[in-house]
């Protein structure tokens, strides 16, 4: 077998099996640290051995068996050194997980433990990328723009807390499940947004590695919890957003806003998949949550071949629905952008101006106002609003766009 094929087989096995191997080992040995290290060693052994021995017929089983051996070796080494090791196991729940649909999977326990609310949000994201996503420490450090040593410490601390404070390794009970699922989705959504709207002066405006990983994890959770509407909603939202990724930044690194994007450059396969999910949720007849409504809004946008075909009143209606469950000023701001297309920029401006008290530090508030002021012919005020938006924006592509728009004012 040639080297390229073996490399591909290892990469494929890593994507497909990493989380499963870590989850199975955590379950067996009650220790995330042991599981992570043994899984990493098993994959390293595969890289070493598969080129000469050939790729095993069932790579997942081979990796699990190998990782199990590595874990037992380590535990023997540790227990010679420290007999108390056995006491410091995580709590394992021996009951099968609550039925969540057709599939019960060890990986769900892993996801819920990594996204436990007793861990800081950044820690949850990092731990999920490492344990569930299988990203290496340098990759995660790069994703969050921190030193590798700092990221290593954060993950080590998290694993120590999980063990010492006994964060359980199980799927939450039915009564806690909705809140905990939305906690997991929040982690994935933040990961996706960090990729999609990367901040920091030296950063690429879009981090495709992060958006791709967030989508991969959302697909995994969708496969594990196929009946959860918000899981489907979040996946659809990510797909419909990701579909526009390449059209969203110009060759010169400037943001291209929705209305000016080359819609021919959108990814039709991702859009079709996103639309399918949105239709499936609509057909369910169950009242949609926040991610499903956001996905539906994105479905309306991606349905229009030309920006002029956009059904803006449908967008406004969806935002009205969203405001009922999330009456935040940011939602009101996004609604106002759609209102401008239906009722005109004057009406929208009046809505936006009322949000100033709460959104004064938010760049999108000033960018939206700047655009509405420009469209209503108030150039001086518009320029001042662009200035403020430029000061506050952290994304390089967005800053470039705002500066060009400001400089085009007459």
């Amino acid at each position: 077998m040639n080297v390229i094929d073996v490399e591909e087989a290892v990469t494929r096995a890593h994507r497909a099996e990493w989380a499963r191997v870590v989850a199975a080992l955590t379950r067996r040995f009650g220790d995330l640290d042991v599981a992570e290290e043994a899984a990493a060693e098993a994959f390293a052994t595969a890289v070493e051995r598969w080129p000469s021995d050939g790729v095993p017929p069932n790579p997942g089983a081979w990796l699990t068996v190998t990782a199990n051996r590595k874990a037992i070796d380590r535990i023997r080494r540790d227990s010679k050194r420290d007999d108390k090791h056995k006491e410091a196991r995580m709590v394992l729940d021996d009951d099968p997980p609550e039925p969540l649909g057709a599939i019960e999977d060890e990986r769900l326990r892993l996801i819920f433990t990594c996204c436990h609310p007793a861990l800081a949000m950044e820690t949850r994201m990092a731990l999920t990328l490492r344990m569930v996503g299988g990203l290496t420490m340098p990759e995660i450090a790069r994703a969050f723009l921190v030193q590798e040593s700092a990221m290593g410490q954060r993950i080590t601390r998290a694993k120590a807390k999980i063990k010492a404070a006994r964060i359980p390794y199980r799927v939450p009970s039915a009564e806690d499940l909705p809140a905990r699922v939305s906690g997991v989705l929040a982690v994935l959504f933040l990961l996706f947004n960090e990729g999609y709207l990367a901040t920091g002066p030296g950063t690429d405006p879009v981090r495709a590695d992060l958006t791709a990983e967030a989508i991969r994890l959302a697909r995994l959770i969708r496969a594990l919890m196929p009946d959860d509407g918000e899981v489907a909603g979040l996946l659809a939202l990510m797909l419909l957003t990701e579909a526009r990724r390449t059209a969203r930044v110009s060759a010169s690194g400037e943001l291209v806003v929705l209305g000016e994007q080359d819609r021919g450059a959108w990814d039709t396969a991702l859009i079709a998949e996103g639309h399918r999910l949105v239709r499936e949720r609509l057909a369910s007849g169950v009242a949609p949550g926040r991610y499903q409504i956001l996905a539906a809004i994105n479905a309306v946008h991606t349905f229009a071949r030309d920006v002029r075909d956009t059904d803006w009143s449908q967008v406004v209606a969806l935002y009205d629905q969203l405001i009922r469950i999330d009456p935040s000023p940011v939602v009101a701001l996004n609604r106002a952008i759609a209102v401008a297309e239906v009722d005109g920029p004057e009406v929208a401006l009046a809505i936006v101006d009322r949000l100033g008290g709460r959104l004064a530090g938010y760049h999108a508030y000033h960018a939206t106002r700047a655009d509405l002021l420009r469209r209503t012919g108030r150039s001086d005020q518009s320029r001042a609003a662009y200035d403020r938006a430029v000061e506050l924006a952290g994304n390089t592509a967005e800053v470039a766009y705002l500066i060009r728009r400001r400089d085009q004012l007459g």
Binding site: V91, P117, A165, R166, I167, P168, D176
Partner: protein, 107 residues
């Protein structure tokens, strides 16, 4: 597994009669359900005395060991199988005593 649930007070007042009554109800539940180990309320920071006997002789100082806006007003020690159970109990404890609480595992 035991957890220390510390009651954090930021307005330097003693518990009101209503709060005391709610704490009693909560304590009875802890006892009935087997989570109770120990609990107690503490005098304010100005009743504290610090002793340092690491040197030649004990040095006694008036006042708390650290001046801060928030102080420890009391605590529970609870028995719970894992952090999820401890957090759920602590959330009810916070509601009963009407204060923030901090949950920490015993080693």
């Amino acid at each position: 597994m035991q957890y220390l649930v510390s009651v954090v007070d930021d307005n330097a007042g003693l518990a009101t009669p209503e709060e005391m009554a709610a704490i009693d109800v909560f304590n009875e539940r802890l006892q009935a359900e087997g989570h109770w180990v120990f609990a107690g309320g503490l005098g304010g920071p100005d009743t504290a005395t610090v002793i340092d006997n690491r040197g030649a002789e004990a040095v006694v100082t008036d006042g708390p060991f650290v001046e801060s806006k928030e102080h420890l007003a009391g605590f529970w020690i609870m028995e719970a199988p894992d952090l999820d159970v401890a957090l759920k109990l602590a959330a009810e404890g916070s509601k009963a005593c009407n204060r923030k609480v901090e949950v920490r595992p015993f080693l």
